[in-house]
Assembly symmetry: C2
Homo-oligomer: 287 residues x 2
């Protein structure tokens, strides 16, 4: 029993295809091993036109993710054409999510890598969560320096191997929370399963350092920090203990899909909130 | 440019389908999130018939993996019928690998979970490695107790999110090794990316403890331990430091595909070998 799907699907080298048409064979390594990467950003379709948020920054991160998996450099012009064709084909209006996916190709025979994309209307849950999220802090099972000198752990890659990132959302729901903040085994804040952490202390914004933590470089966090810097704020990458969020002026989980969502509660305890500050951070994020 | 593929593909609810026919849609969660599980075992097709090694044990582990992802219990009779149909349809003889795959279904609309399988001839590399493997010890980025009280990390599940398990094999190749032994950040042997560790000290076999280590329950290790116990050997689950393997009488990476492969070298240093002992362990494994 399948509902009607409102989705645009594109396949690199083939163009837009019907969304209910299977496109991946049974031994594709993206499926059988999670051996691939993706990236995602917002598409807005309204009276002013059709735009993809920060497409070049997302393509650049996509290239870095593929490089971390030692895949060949993708043909970005082919990707840009496919994305443009798919965006033009959207039969819906409003906000949507563009996801671009790269897999290594088939396991049992040599093939070229596979590229595909989906554009799917934004869920009402994502929109509602912009008003704020209740967050559960959950162990990521790794120390804050676990990824130093271990590139095979794929730190910083937006990998298709996101099974844990899905499982933690189920655990959050069980705890009455909307989202998750991953915490290292040595007690430091890392990132959300599909978002980055930004924290304000006075006129200073802090996020999690990259590199040894293994977290993903967040494009939304970068955009917020650039705008904050232009507005005279200071910014830094620093490890924060989860307890420190209670002493901050505001904390947000930021992503290209949801923008900057204020963390209302962490493990059931309210965190400091400031509507003006959130409005400013949301504005900096471009949402 | 695609080579001819020798593979049998089955889709639950549909039966055997052509191996080059796409079966997975673009927003299947097994693809987009690695949100699914698999299991694998050997199929042997020869003059004596067609047999699947330890099928019921693999189906039982498949059920446990799905349960760890909180999926609904699969219809095992439907799986058994699909497997029988696919095995009967194999156009090749010799050894092959049966892989059964479960995904949660589509992301953007509610669907039932997806079940599919592949049967692929054994690679010559897997056969050659039965004579022994040179192994690189690589950090898994986690402490040996990282999975205690953290079921959302999916310890013990044979997850489709195996991107790291693939990446470490590339790192091994770069180091001139054939395979990998994952080591915890506190220095203990864990498992291989697609195998378990068995070590002999005198008439005693040791493997890695499950549970807090997050390792997968190995069916081949269980079979070896059962046969060894019947032969009067002692067995134990104990954390071993990587250095301890140099003082053992033999070490093997064991799996349902390759059987018991003796570890010839660890990080370029020879490990103790004993051909009689390896023959005994291989015999216990059923290979």
């Amino acid at each position: 029993m399948t509902e009607q799907v409102q989705q645009v699907v594109g396949f690199l080298g083939r163009g837009v295809v019907p969304p209910d048409q299977p496109v991946i064979v049974a031994d594709d390594l993206g499926l059988t091993r999670g051996d691939g990467v993706f990236d995602a950003t917002r598409v807005v379709i309204d009276g002013a036109g059709r735009r993809v948020d920060n497409l070049e920054a997302h393509l650049a991160r996509f290239v870095r993710s593929i490089g971390l998996l030692e895949g060949p450099a993708p043909d970005l012009d082919a990707w840009r054409r496919l994305i443009a064709e798919a965006v033009a084909a959207c039969p819906f209006t409003g906000e949507a999510i563009l996801k671009i996916i790269w897999t290594r190709g088939r396991e049992s025979v040599h093939t070229d890598p596979v590229g595909l994309l989906t554009i799917t209307p934004m869920t009402s849950a994502a929109v509602a969560q912009r008003a704020g999220v209740r967050v559960a802090a959950l162990s990521r099972g790794v120390a804050s320096d676990a990824f130093a000198d271990a590139p095979w752990l794929l730190g910083g890659a937006k990998s298709l191997s996101y099974g844990v990132n899905v499982a933690v959302k189920r655990e959050a729901a069980r705890r009455g929370a909307d989202d998750v903040l991953f915490v290292s085994t040595d007690g430091y804040c890392l990132e959300g399963p599909t978002s980055a952490l930004v924290v304000a202390f006075g006129d200073r914004l802090v996020t999690t350092p990259r590199g040894a933590t293994g977290i993903l470089a967040s494009i939304t966090q970068e955009i917020i920090f650039e705008a904050a810097t232009a507005a005279g704020w200071r910014t830094a990458s620093e490890l924060l203990r989860a307890e420190q969020l209670a002493g901050a002026d505001g904390s947000w989980l930021v992503s290209s899909v949801r923008g900057a969502a204020p963390i209302l509660e962490l493990d059931g305890r309210p965190l400091p909130q400031n509507a003006d500050l959130t409005a400013r951070v949301v504005g900096w994020s471009g949402f």
